[in-house]
Symmetry: C2
Subunit: 154 residues, 2 copies
Amino acid sequence: MNTDFINPFLESIINVLTTMAGTEAKPGRPFLKTEKSAKGDVTGIIGLMGEKAKGSLAITFTEPAILHIASKMLGEEIQQVDGSVADCVGEITNMVTGGAKKILSEKGYKFDMAIPAAIIGKHHIISHKTDGRIICIPFETPAGSFFVEVCFSE
Amino acid sequence: MNTDFINPFLESIINVLTTMAGTEAKPGRPFLKTEKSAKGDVTGIIGLMGEKAKGSLAITFTEPAILHIASKMLGEEIQQVDGSVADCVGEITNMVTGGAKKILSEKGYKFDMAIPAAIIGKHHIISHKTDGRIICIPFETPAGSFFVEVCFSE
């Protein structure tokens, strides 16, 4: 997986959070995910399927980050993780993947998306079952951190 | 979603657990998943994509149930949820979906599978983001319960 492939996801999440939540997300350096990976409190996950490859995308938020983002998206202060937060995470996951799909399609990488699920639970870990590499991109927002993970297996 | 569609998943999980883990899983009555849903400790999730519908499948285990199943699959006593348990859950999810896919394909419902992910975290909740219905099938094993959730949106 090269930067051609990673940058559209990076670009897409920054766009979505700016547009939907007026929140600046600052990307850190992408790294290969290893066994010991970051834990998070709320995750959006979606299956990806291309002609030659299958994969998945997960966006794992810390609680402070997603409460901030959901409050901005919904225009009211959200103080705990509930169904409305799960809805926001599903929507963000869909929009980020849709945005990346559009950019990648223009570069000749075509894939389809399944439907997203949101996972809620303090300090959970996502473990992608793939022979391929898992790229993790850390992000910082003014309210806390989140991680975008993308993997494809050919 | 009718029983034509649900039964293959039910049949497939029973087969997989009998074959891979010598564990009898007894299905309860399938129900429509509502907001208040069961929590679990380890989940396998996978995206599904058909010609006319998209969906996802999640299998959520309680810790005692998955420790029992993983111990039987691996042939050694597993006392805590770790990477090897995540691998078992990924494999179960893949095999259950593959089995159901085969049965459904013979009935004329064709779909492809993305790659599975395992989620580890005490008492997490899975919230599928779909306009369609979410069918939940509860199961009991001698060691504890688990839930299979299937949803498709057209």
